[in-house]
């Protein structure tokens, strides 16, 4: 059954409309705006759920003239990401009602958060790559605003800039990849398309019916674009999903209010990257297993490296949110690696872990927010024994962090098991060095286990004496965390049926075709297979190493402090370098001297125009063009006077003489127009020349008395530029006048402009005027004139603003 187009469009539109209304609502409701936003999120998720299992495509004509249409596609993966965005949105908005109590800028906060939710739904539902890109960057912008929520704090400014810089520039790489794909598609399909999936003429096709993936891949390889396209898309996904070495923005992003961290930087926005990988997987990973080597090595390498390194960094963290941030990067690495493995179990890993991770990590972030809010500190060393003060929170944390550690029977265990399975199978198939894959996976998982237990330990052990009185959290904050913990529990205990029914379509979204009779299923292990053994090693290793946690913590910190190993160092130095360049460039480009600008513009125009003629040819024979010019005697005389006037300008001893001789030039041109039977042009030229002369008189006494000494070198340079411009204009005029266009349009104007011989009282099909030039201006080409007078008005406004604002002391 196809999804209902009105409902899907409503899901996209409601958050944006809701966001636009926030400023008004905030005036009425004040801090209770949180519940308004939660209602909107609930509405969206309700609408989305109503479309469950109605997989299919909705195409909405947007700009039919340009063949642009909005293509929405609903399948398991899109549904999951959309549900995360709206469902976790509900909980986060409720939580914000408690957390943001008394905080500044709430209207802005909820507006941005709703815009973010809408854009995230857009990322999930839209499969037109260009629209996808727009929504993708919108999430980056929203994230920028939310990280920088505390506008006065230097750290949040730094963090928001960093996140913006990394994710947006990554998005630009991705855009290039999209454009290349669109270009390639024109060789395979009827015309180029940016639709990824779901229509006849899309890059992947309609799953189960039409597939173009094979042909597109072939075309990409033929043209040597296969690796570049995957690489470009990978950069987009890696920056968004905080993969090594682009992970550095995520820990800094923790400057944002904690609900934002829970929502954007663990459950949804950072999932956009892995979503993209999952979405593109059917295009690049063929049906038969182990076939997509480039894809596999790129994403498995990226994912496992991120998973391991970020897990180690999490162990070195001193702040609970920093720990969770690195842990998020690490788990995203796990998902990326899962999607990387070119077999069914890889897709299973990615799909299932997106769900699991969103559930337990959002819970833990909300817990972190509660701790920071109630205990007043986020330092790991300063916290301990919190179970006495917050027993319910302790229970919630236990569920979520055991799931994160991958301990059976919690849900995190299942997806980790799937990863081990995929790594083992791949190593078994390729042999040799690939045996490192399962080893690295286990190694990284041990660190995951370690920091998960460390987080849980905040609630156990001794309570530090310096920890002050801790209040119970308000219900608005406790409830969402509790709901999420229950979801984790449900996912854990009901893993088998949920995987069978709910996750199965999600897995299928990332597969080009499913084997006969395939159905995704998970169950607790009942035999000692290699993946089970790997889990045993992970947990045993973790327990064995936990007593040395502090030593590991300090050891990794020492490693981190080596400047060469720190991507942050490179980032900071790069930014400083760029800022330095921006300081230096204006010194040469923006000299505040008219002569520099004029010289650059004029010579550029000449060089490009002449270069174009040289390379592309002029289409006419120049000598013929010159010989084709025949001037009547009066015109020759007038032009000769103009030349004399031009020479006189150069020799003029004073300003007044200069202006007057310049006017000779202008007026002779007007006479030339008269002789060439162009009275309108002549009139315009005369009038403008007069006005300019009058205006010159106005400013004449303000100009310096003489121009200063002229250096010989500069004079020669100016002379060269002037000759170049003269040459360019001359050639252009010769070429354009020699190219005799078919004069159909002229005949049309001559016929249509005047009052026709036979006519009624009201004439609408002709111009009705004898002055063709004016009729063209006000009737036939009135829209052009409209644009021109708008420009004139705009110029006046610009001058008014520039001069008016100059003394306002506004400095960037």
């Amino acid at each position: 059954m196809q999804p209902d187009s009105a409902v899907l469009l409503a899901v996209l539109a409601i958050p944006f409309v809701g966001a636009a209304l926030v400023p008004l609502v905030h005036r009425v409701l004040g801090e209770r705006t949180a519940y308004y936003a939660a209602t909107i999120a609930a509405l969206c998720s309700g609408l989305l759920i109503s479309q469950y299992e109605r997989w299919g495509t909705v195409t909405v004509e947007w700009i039919p003239a340009l063949d642009v249409s909005l293509v929405l596609y609903l399948d398991g993966l899109a549904f999951l990401i959309g549900l995360l965005a709206s469902g976790i949105g509900v909980l986060v908005f409720i939580y914000s009602g408690g957390y943001m109590h008394g905080e500044p800028g709430q209207a802005k906060y909820y507006t941005t958060l709703l815009v973010f939710m809408g854009s995230m739904l857009g990322v999930a539902l839209v499969v037109d790559l260009l629209s996808l890109f727009v929504f993708w960057e919108l999430t980056s912008v929203a994230s920028f605003l939310l990280i920088g929520h505390y506008q006065r704090a230097d750290r949040s400014l730094y963090a928001s800039r960093k996140a913006m810089f990394i994710t947006v520039s990554g998005g630009l790489f991705m855009l290039i990849g999209f454009l290349l794909l669109g270009h390639i598609s024109s060789f395979v399909l009827d015309g180029s398309t940016f639709t990824l999936i779901g229509t006849e003429q899309s890059l992947i096709g309609i799953p189960g019916e039409v597939t173009h993936a094979e042909a597109i891949r072939h075309e990409l390889v033929e043209r040597g674009l296969f690796v570049p396209v995957i690489g470009l898309i990978a950069i987009g996904a890696a920056t968004k999903s905080a993969q090594i070495p682009f992970h550095i923005w995520l820990p800094d992003a923790m400057e944002a209010p904690t609900p934002v961290s829970a929502f954007l930087h663990s459950a949804t926005m950072v999932k956009a990257g892995v979503y993209l990988i999952g979405r593109f997987r059917p295009l690049f990973v063929p049906e038969h297993v182990f076939a997509a080597e480039v894809w596999t090595w790129l994403f498995v390498g990226l994912g496992l490296a991120t998973m391991t390194i970020a897990a180690m960094l999490a162990v070195s963290a001193t702040d609970i949110k920093e720990l969770l941030a690195y842990s998020t990067a690490s788990h995203l690495g796990l998902i990326v690696a899962g999607f990387g493995f070119a077999e069914t179990v890889g897709a299973e890993t990615g799909a299932f872990h997106i769900l699991n991770h969103a559930a337990f990590k959002a819970t833990l972030f909300l817990v972190a927010g509660i701790i920071a809010h109630e205990a007043g500190t986020r330092s790991i060393d300063a916290l301990g024994g919190l179970r006495h003060d917050m027993p319910i929170v302790a229970a919630i944390t236990a569920v979520a962090s055991l799931s994160m550690a991958g301990i059976p029977p919690f849900n995190g265990f299942y997806s980790k098991e799937l990863l081990f399975d995929a790594a083992w199978e791949t190593a078994h198939h390729f042999g040799g060095l690939t045996w490192l894959l399962p080893v690295v996976a286990v190694f990284g998982s041990i660190f995951t286990f370690l920091y998960s237990i460390r987080f849980l330990w905040l609630f156990f052990g001794d309570r530090p004496t310096e920890l002050g009185e801790i209040h119970r959290p308000p219900l608005a904050m406790l409830l969402p965390a509790g709901v999420l913990a229950i979801i984790v529990l449900v996912l854990s205990l009901g893993a088998a049926p949920i995987a069978h029914d709910f996750v199965n379509p999600i897995v299928k979204s990332s597969l080009i075709a499913t084997p006969e009779g395939y159905h995704f299923s998970v169950h607790l292990p009942h035999a000692l297979k290699p993946p089970v053994l790997m889990s045993v090693v992970t947990i045993a290793g973790g327990i064995a190493m936990y007593p040395f946690y502090d030593r590991l913590h300090h050891g990794i910190r020492r490693l981190r402090s080596i400047a060469l190993l720190s991507p942050n160092q490179y980032y900071d130095r790069g930014i400083t370098g760029i800022a330095h360049v921006s300081d230096v460039v204006p010194r040469y480009v923006q000299t505040d001297l008219m002569r520099t600008y004029a010289a650059v513009v004029m010579s550029a125009v000449s060089v490009f125009a002449l270069g174009g003629y040289l390379l592309g040819g002029t289409g006419t024979d120049l000598t013929e063009a010159v010989s084709g010019v025949n001037l009547a005697l009066p015109i020759t005389i007038i032009l000769a006077v103009a030349v004399v006037g031009a020479l006189a300008v150069d020799r003029a001893p004073s300003h007044i003489a200069g202006v007057l001789t310049l006017s000779i030039l202008g007026f002779t041109v007007a006479v030339f127009y008269v002789l060439a039977s162009a009275p309108d042009l002549a009139l315009t030229q005369l009038v403008i020349e007069t006005l300019v002369l009058v205006l010159f008189l106005l400013v004449l006494d303000r100009l310096p008395a003489f121009y200063g000494e002229l250096r010989r070198g500069r004079a020669i340079l100016d002379g060269l530029i002037a000759s170049g411009v003269g040459l360019t204009v001359t050639i252009t005029v010769l070429v354009t006048t020699a190219a005799d266009p078919s004069d159909g349009i002229a005949h049309f104007f001559v016929e249509k402009a005047p009052v026709p011989a036979e006519h009624g009282t009201l004439i609408t099909d002709a111009g009705g005027g004898n002055n063709i030039v004016n009729v063209i201006l006000v009737d036939f080409r009135a829209l052009d004139t409209m644009g021109e007078i708008s420009v004139v008005a705009m110029a006046a406004l610009a001058i008014l603003t520039l001069i008016g604002m100059r003394n306002r002391g506004e400095r960037a």
């Binding site: 009275p679 309108d680 002549a682 009139l683 315009t684 009038v687 403008i688 007069t690 006005l691 009058v694 205006l695 008189l697 106005l698 006494d701 009052v755 006519h759 009624g760 009282t761 009201l762 004439i763 609408t764 002709a766 111009g767 009705g768 005027g769 004898n770 002055n771 030039v773 004016n774 009729v775 201006l777 006000v778 009737d779 009135a782 829209l783 004139t785 409209m786 007078i789 708008s790 004139v792 008005a793 110029a795 006046a796 406004l797 001058i799 008014l800 001069i803 008016g804």
Partner: protein, 170 residues
């Protein structure tokens, strides 16, 4: 402008007699533009030339207060008084009135174009009412394009006067 005291009697006398003629010619060019050389742009620039002459000879204050403040039948005056934006200090005063003129011009041009839509024609379509054999006049032609041309005229006058006033203040 300081040149107030520097201009000679000759200049003042000539300008005084020439400016009305210029304005009349400008309006004439504007109105005959449909059938003879002329039109909104040329008429507008010529009108501004007249104002610029007054400005140079008698100064900005004379232009805005004495000339445009009194009823001397000048074209720009009536329009500038109708449209005023006193709220914004930025647009207030003489400059504000000048800039209101080009706003009015844009509104005239676009509004005239919108009128065509009301009759089911595309935006900016023009029509002509043509009356033949009228006694005394012979032929009378009413072109909707004149509204558009008037818009062009006001935009040019308003913009150039704004620029003149703003830059002249410096």
């Amino acid at each position: 402008m300081s040149s107030n005291n520097q201009t000679t009697v000759i200049v003042r006398t000539v300008v005084r007699s020439v400016v009305p003629i210029i304005v009349l010619v400008a309006i004439g060019l504007l109105l005959q533009g449909h059938n003879f050389p002329g039109g909104g742009f040329i008429g507008g620039v010529l009108t501004v030339t007249a104002f610029a002459l007054v400005y140079i000879t008698y100064g900005a204050e004379y232009l805005s207060q004495n000339l445009l403040g009194i009823s001397d039948g000048s074209v720009a005056r009536r329009e500038t008084q109708d449209v005023l934006d006193p709220d914004e200090a930025f647009f207030s005063g003489t400059v504000g009135r000048y800039s209101a003129v080009f706003g009015l011009g844009l509104a005239l041009a676009a509004g005239g174009g919108l009128g065509a839509i009301a009759f089911g024609e595309p935006f900016l379509s023009q029509a002509v009412l043509y009356f033949d054999h009228i006694p005394v006049f012979g032929v009378i032609e009413l072109a909707s394009a004149l509204i558009f041309d008037l818009g062009v005229y006001f935009v040019v006058v308003g913009s150039l006067l704004t620029i003149l006033a703003v830059v002249g203040n410096e």
